[in-house]
Symmetry: C2
Subunit: 667 residues, 2 copies
């Protein structure tokens, strides 16, 4: 079992030692699931599989040619998936009832040939599979497959799996390399990773083959009748020569959906960031599944695109995507902090996608560089996406607010991909904490600990159970107490991630060899037998971090452990310019202060900087340049202190919506 | 006479004291005019008014829906206009012959109803006036009017003026406020300023009225049948709902052509930068022409849009436009140095447009802030647009090269607006040096000196001639010797511009009052009678300048007088990264060194900085952020010296094409 969507059941978060993660899960269970269920009902999504007309189907698309309701299938599917994960943890009659009713509706919605999609059944039945480029048919199918996998596992019946397998049969007939088949692939990847997970469940070679086809065919310049599939498809539906969806830079700019060339030939990460992440997650998984196939070109593409992304196109918070137009990547090092400074998108779903990709990459190459980014994204780019109460969400996550885009969450979105994505992520988050493999014959277990928290992992090896418990107030405290049970009968080896940002670490009892390989510290079975209880200590101290100088962002931000901090007007009420003219001295002393949970929902550590506050002179005329000599010197501020709060906890306490992560560096 | 296109004849550049300007004019006369004439012939433009089919008319447009040859009328017109200006200075049989032949062809090309346009006569005769938004019909007409004005003045016949006046009659009938008329206006302004100049010549109220109509109607949301004219027009020609030219951000985004709302309601300067400049030049001129009309709302709009541009959207060089997609303005303070850093366009024509606007604004408000920008643009954003030999040109003027966009000029362009625009500008540049007005009755003259050079101005007042001569090696030397002749019989007052960047200045003989009002120093008639020879001295010292901190460009550039300098690999051959990682210490001592003309065509002052060169650490992994503590410290460079050359003189000596204006500031 090697998917976090499966292995999460091996992890429990004991209520006796609550953690950041367990508190977030409590919120989702207590508020979010029912809140989102209610929104699904109010907006028409819940009943949509009944295939009746909804008045919103007549609405003009906000973004041509994509009907606003096109994603409804996936909104429901992601909620279903998340609900099943949470039901696995605790029963809930209302949620259980809704899941069952939805599954019933979905079964009824399936057409006799296996087709299963709301829009193309109710609104445009004749246009099925005519616009893979823009219309999210296969994306929706992918999310339904993922929902079916979660449903089957929890309910131990195939009420949802059955129609999905039937639908996949239809897709397998429709798409493929044969001359009579469509040589197409989804504009928005998702089904690829879902099919690979389905294959793990069914071992049906058709499921693997279809995933492989979608991946290998992608970007083929001569895929259909010697031409690009999307060109042929567009012509077939009579698309005008100069009709271009607003999200594509120009006609044929298929880098938007990572289909400008075959994946193995893509040099840089481009286009829509969520699509890129879902696609590469599937590529990494294909490499893993087909480990006996020579997939070196995919491996090097993964490495190349990952590096390009992380080194040159990722924000301090782990967020990706600077460009609003195509919800995705800009030029190398183009990472402005906000929409008023050139752009900053960092969609919540994209952060989740980075986590998904990092997790898959860890499966084929256990390297802490992937886990570091996975954790960075979780605690910043992703967790900032939901309010403390679990009923408000973000889509875009700028690193600095502006008058036009305040730092404020919303109740819901027309395109509502992000809220249920956070829900399902927190449902199976236990699967991200660690990965493991066991050998029943050899009676052995390997555990790789990627993230720290308070959690307990149980692994059944034959008739024996190995239990590894970690206890910690991470990310606030760097002390993690481990207890290993059952290792007397099962040979157990553990690897512990030492984050790259750690300035030091200690383990006790003392370890004979403290060699770290690719970011992981190995604890041998022998040592563990003698030391089933041990403690890792990674001191968490505030530190100033900065992005690459080529970003032209001469800013510093405060970090502590995996958390990135920000300034909010709530704590710094004097601000009136979104901290744009603020200067921060990196030599300043930073103080930590424990703060109560209150509206933030989490007892947290705030950071305070004293006597280091000044403002750059910006009010004099510089037009269009000014002699250095006549530049207004820095002005001391009235404020003596700056109070920082973790970015993930922003916008929970009211205020004007002024916020900034990276502060102009005082030199 | 109040247009530089008219007053330039009052100025001569004595060959006895050559200057930067006169040397540039010599180059255009000796090389550029004939070189461009040859290109016009080779490319088919010269013969196009013969109205025969040219094979290129079948080419697919590079930018839909704009045929590549659509601007040919204006390319010829601008060359004609420039040729007439230069012929006024020195005769040239070949140029004279070409002008006459072209005028003959243009006359023949006119349709019986007065219509005069190559594309809409030869290629799409049925589509006349059906797409004012995109197709440059009225823009071409404007340039032809300007050519006619220059031609009539030089040749003292109406061979070109006659058909243009007839064409304007047709336009006057076609466009206007009457119900049966089209309530349209050009997508690319130009005809407005041409019509105002035509009105000055003809005093025909129709010419003024048409200009006023185009200006006041622009951006009317209910101009045609209660809707925006461009919407109605697009619908009428059957434009698809989702067809949008690539240069427009989205359907109906008429800010591209400054037609999103009436000019008086436009808060910020937006869209295509050349269009904006040509439009506002006409607005300023309308305010001047109709001085008795209450045009306060246009005046405040001009002031507001000028300030927004200069303070927030102008490069160090005077260049405008950061966005390639719409060849125009980006967000406030969004001014990256190059295409690899987010964009930098700064089209040559846009720089010329800024000069045109500044000159018109000086007419309605004598404020040195306009003249400062006019001079900055001329010596940097504009003069960088032509090679020393006058046979290579730029369209885009980035402030930093990149591997994709080297610092290199081209021989010509498909869209060739810039090369002949530089030609005609240098033809009448004398008109920018100073403005004047005289009163025959009072026998008085006022001269405002805006720019310094070696030049002589002659003004006829009744039967007396007043001559003002300035002698200077500007912009290399800040000493300017003035001689005033003829002021004994004509009361003469002079105002001298003191640039805002001047750190000091002296005038001798001593002046009793040295009060500067809005950037100009007044010399009274009395003082001038006693001191017909005087000397102004503005010490030119190298200075470091920087843009506004909100640009997030923490750079410094070297300036000296009006000139902005740059680094080129020719002088700094060690460079391999376009000076991207270079750090420059603003405390460094800067040395001046006189350099011979050589390939640069101009004896110039180079600047050298010693022992101040280091590089920022950029090679270590920062992904996506790095602790400040672990940032690689600056590395000393192997190079001891940095050699700077004026930006205007770049790319004349070969090299790899690495260049940068603003250098990362060492703190």
């Amino acid at each position: 079992m090697s998917y976090p969507q499966l292995t999460f059941v091996n992890t429990i978060f004991p209520s006796s030692s609550p953690s950041f993660i367990s508190r977030r899960r409590e919120v989702v269970y207590a508020n979010t699931l029912l809140y989102q269920l209610n929104v699904l009902k109010e907006t028409g999504r819940y009943d949509a599989f009944k295939l009746k007309w909804h008045k919103s189907y007549s609405d003009k698309p906000n973004v041509w040619p994509v009907p606003n309701h096109l994603f409804w299938d996936s909104d429901v599917a992601k909620w279903l998936e998340g609900a099943c994960y949470f039901l696995n943890w605790k029963e809930n009659t209302e949620i259980d009832g809704a899941v069952k009713e939805l599954v019933g509706m979905i079964r009824e919605a399936q057409q006799s040939d296996g087709y299963l999609n709301i829009h193309f059944t109710v609104v445009e039945p004749a246009k099925r599979f005519t616009n893979l480029r823009d219309l999210h048919e296969l994306y929706n199918a992918g999310h339904l497959i993922e929902a079916a996998l979660a449903h089957e596992r929890h309910y131990k019946n195939d009420l949802l799996m059955e129609p999905l397998v039937k639908y996949v049969d239809l897709l397998y007939e429709t798409f493929g390399p044969k001359p009579a088949q469509k040589h197409g692939y989804p504009g928005h990847p998702e089904i690829e990773l879902a099919l690979l997970r389905l294959y793990e469940r069914t071992a049906n070679p058709k499921h693997l083959a279809l995933a492989r086809f979608f991946i290998t065919e992608r970007g083929n310049p001569k895929g259909q009748y010697g031409r690009h599939y999307y060109d042929v498809e567009a012509e077939a539906r009579g698309e005008g020569e100069h009709q271009v969806p607003a999200y594509m830079e120009s006609k044929g700019a298929y880098w938007y959906q990572q289909a400008h060339k075959p994946i193995t030939e893509q040099e840089t990460i481009e286009g829509h960031s969520v699509r890129a992440m879902y696609l590469l997650t599937a590529v990494a998984d294909l490499v893993r599944v087909e480990e006996k196939t020579d997939h070196r070109s995919y491996r090097t593409a993964l490495e190349r695109l990952w590096s390009n992304m992380v080194d040159k196109k990722m924000y301090l918070t782990g967020g990706i995507g600077a460009m609003e137009q195509w919800e995705g990547f800009g030029l190398d090092y183009f990472l402005p902090s906000g929409s008023d400074e050139g752009g900053c998108y960092a969609e919540t779903c994209a952060g989740i996608g980075v986590m998904m990709l990092a997790e898959r990459l860890l499966q084929i190459d256990l390297d802490g560089k992937f886990a570091d980014i996975m954790e960075l994204c979780f605690y910043n780019a992703v967790m900032t996406g939901m309010s403390a109460k679990g009923t408000q969400f973000t889509y875009v996550n700028q690193l600095a607010s502006s008058d036009k885009n305040l730092s404020q969450r919303a109740k819901w979105f027309t395109c509502a991909c992000c809220p249920p994505n956070v829900t399902r992520l927190l449902g199976y988050i236990g699967g991200y904490l660690w990965s493991f493999d066991s050998d029943e014959e050899k009676k052995s277990v390997h555990v790789n600990v990627h993230m720290y928290s308070s959690a307990q992992l149980s692994i059944l090896v034959g008739k024996e159970t190995v239990e590894l418990e970690q206890k910690s107030n991470w990310p606030w405290d760097g002390k993690i107490e481990f207890s290993l049970r059952g290792s007397s009968k099962v040979a157990t080896a553990i690897k512990l991630r030492i984050p790259a940002w750690a300035e030091g670490w200690e383990i006790s009892p003392e370890l004979p060899s403290k060699h770290i390989e690719k970011g992981y510290l190995s604890l041998s079975g022998e040592w563990l037998k003698q030391n089933p209880k041990f403690e890792l200590n990674i001191p968490l101290k505030p530190r100033f971090v900065s992005p690459h100088p080529y970003t032209n962002q001469d800013i510093i931000a405060l970090a502590r452990g995996p958390l990135i901090y920000c300034l909010e007007d709530f704590d710094n009420s004097w601000v009136d310019d979104h901290f744009k003219s603020l200067l921060l001295d990196p030599a300043a002393v930073v103080e930590e202060k424990e703060a109560a949970a209150d509206e933030v929902g989490e007892p947290y550590i705030g950071l305070t900087v004293r006597n280091a506050v000044s403002f750059i002179g910006v009010n004099n005329v510089h037009a269009p340049h000014v002699s250095l000599k006549s530049t207004t010197p820095e002005k001391p501020s009235g404020a003596d202190e700056l109070h920082f709060i973790p970015y993930a906890l922003r916008d929970n306490r009211g205020g004007k919506g002024h916020m900034r992560v990276g502060i102009r560096r005082k030199r």
